[in-house]
Symmetry: C2
Subunit: 484 residues, 2 copies
Amino acid sequence: MDLHFTLTGSGDLTAQIYAQLRAAVLDGRLTGGDRVPATRDLATTLDVARGTVTAAYDRLIAEELLESRRGAGTFVAAGCVPPAHATGRRARAGAVRPVPLWATPTAPAPGPGRTAYDFSVGVPDDSLFPLATWRRLVSGTLRRGRLTAGTYEARGTSRLEVEIARYAGLSRSVVAAGDDVVTTAGAQQALDLVARVLVEPGDVVAVEDPGYTAAARLFATHRAVVRGVPVDGEGIVVDALPPAARLVYVTPSHQHPTGVAMSRARRIALLEWAVRHGAVIVEDDYDSEFRFADRPLEPLQSLDRDGRVVYVGSFSKSLLPSLRVGYAIAPATLTAALREAKRVTVWDGDTVTQGALADFLAEGHHAAHVKRATKVYRARREALLAGLTSPGGLADWLEVIPSAAGLHLCTLLRDPVLDDVSIAEAALAAGVFVEPLSVRHLEQAPHHGLAFGVGGIPLERIGPALAALRQVLSASRPARRVDG
Amino acid sequence: MDLHFTLTGSGDLTAQIYAQLRAAVLDGRLTGGDRVPATRDLATTLDVARGTVTAAYDRLIAEELLESRRGAGTFVAAGCVPPAHATGRRARAGAVRPVPLWATPTAPAPGPGRTAYDFSVGVPDDSLFPLATWRRLVSGTLRRGRLTAGTYEARGTSRLEVEIARYAGLSRSVVAAGDDVVTTAGAQQALDLVARVLVEPGDVVAVEDPGYTAAARLFATHRAVVRGVPVDGEGIVVDALPPAARLVYVTPSHQHPTGVAMSRARRIALLEWAVRHGAVIVEDDYDSEFRFADRPLEPLQSLDRDGRVVYVGSFSKSLLPSLRVGYAIAPATLTAALREAKRVTVWDGDTVTQGALADFLAEGHHAAHVKRATKVYRARREALLAGLTSPGGLADWLEVIPSAAGLHLCTLLRDPVLDDVSIAEAALAAGVFVEPLSVRHLEQAPHHGLAFGVGGIPLERIGPALAALRQVLSASRPARRVDG
């Protein structure tokens, strides 16, 4: 056998030897019956302890890729390589098609790829994530007694659920105890569970238009009739709600994507409408963690006197989307069904992440992190706002929609002839990723505009990014001068 | 302020001070305007560095629970405590009810609680979990560059999906590449995604009867008409399948709960039936990791020539259920829909666990762990079998259903008058948790028997447990002698 090993100085040498030998067998470089070097010889060649090599061989023997023949040495096992690997064969395909609902996958929104200037919406800055603290808490959760095999029984309220009730109560004045909280894999799973237990096929679900298209798609996959309702400067237009709506999905803190906050009057009107029509309100408290002006308005959940609001939140923006932790805070008439829907479909979320997050909240790291991150995002937001509103600058093309919170700003194109998708494409070609507003519409006549997220772009790049965008806008059409 | 602090020697002292002070505010022991000790004084009292106390106070100030008044000291902030916490108020309830499908939650199977002798089914021994290795791999995954904020775009095949394809190919001769694998939160989510993309309301889904009731419930929540099909010594009775079945759910390696392996002839017959009827087979390779006799039969997935098998697996038995990692290996005609169903409903699973598991597989730890665990479970299984089959012992009451794999053995009660639920209840009162077979039936006339899992019981307890069970059986009815 003449196999080249590359060992890097740090890390698990046994694992490196194991992985490279295994790869060689699996990709056919070594085949059944080939003799591999004696452990002593390989250890000498690689300048490692013999036990390091022996341990790697033992794993491969356990996996039946190698076999040891007494007195003769160690060999690649005969016939151990399944054809799928040796030939790269794929699972057979052909006979089965998904049901019509899923037959035509919708394309996910295009991502920024490798752009110089990334204004992605809905993504926090991962470099702010308090990784060392998190790693310590995860390690602490990975101890005997805290990590149990788990049984598939119903369990009581988790520590994380209690902490989330406290957190939402403190930071958002949500009225809840731990028993009212159902933890989920991000806000998206919370919406999925809500749809399962509240939506019958054919039910009307009202969503904001423009709005969070991923929520609209989710409700549609539950066979709801999804209706888009216009949004104005005070939030969803309550008078335009379809009377048949069984469920109304809203993002009152920072409307997605316009950034508008729902006014207090509108909140009251929406609650009254829901009472009159027997509807449920799903309040997605999207992007409420980062506030830059005003005191926040009370959530619908705490204004609700009737038990018809399901409050949904997540740690995707305040920490990381990849943690996949969100929650629903529901009236007690729904929590048993929501918990069962979760149990029936996924049993539970990742208990290690949940345990670490409970500690993270209980020890005060979350509040401290949000405070630090808000400072960073505020600086970026101010630089962005300055660039977007300076007369003679981008203000000639773009009108900023006022907003007090959240990780992005939305603008409208002043020139009714311009198409935001074309602008976004041209911007991408110039290295600037911005999101067009019109693609967030469902059935209302689309507004054209651009949304700018501040999670993915460092402060010092915002100026150059806006300059590059200005070039793009100038090239597409002469500006219409704006005064002051 | 007279607050008692309990500091434990190890761990984050700042966090301990923070948490105890915060708890006191939240549960009302401290109220707005209360003065807290000067940092210097508290540091002296607690014998810690002053900076330790200051850091705790800073977090509480950031959280607006404390406020610092220049020259006067630090105080509990006025009005910082939301009513929900001070009074323990719950979220309002009343107006909203779930749809009929979810209106009556099914009770989850009762768990063992604190019993002396725990024969729980489907639970591995968490003390075997290689915690130190896992902690190291998780820590390695929690590094900059590996833990990214993530965007909500479609992503390519993950490293874990490639490793699962290799693993299933090596250990189970499943024919697949990484692109055919969709990772999920346990086998349960894999079944949920399959149901979403393949089941229309009213479609007939056939399941084994007795069978895995959680799967039957899941399909029913997708508004399928679920039909139970009898199982004999060779597995599901293909001739009894309802011709209208669009989907057939089976556990061929170790039928749940009987433990029977589906014969090769039956596998071929099932595949032919599916071709004739245009049905999809969902092969849940439940409990295939631990094998104690015979060579395993080829999975339906690799016998399938037609692309109509979805293969489902998990790491819940070979590692821990609480990791929540499973997978579906599907024909290419379905994978896009399955991936979209996952994206629409939960985006993705926990990326840290997924990264650590990819390393765990790639470095050979999984194969080594299964080998070690098999040895432990084999010893328990042999002790259990010996006790169940010894003439003059439990063999007088129970007949073991032959089985070659898996973490439990199933038995039938020889006496047709005995009721397995009553026996299980009497056993539980005597400290022995066993699962009755009859509750696993859907519509077929129930068999009565008891299932014994070996994941939760140490070797040395098996003898005493069976002796206690024998007492229970003797008390319920005289044995009918069995020869030999």
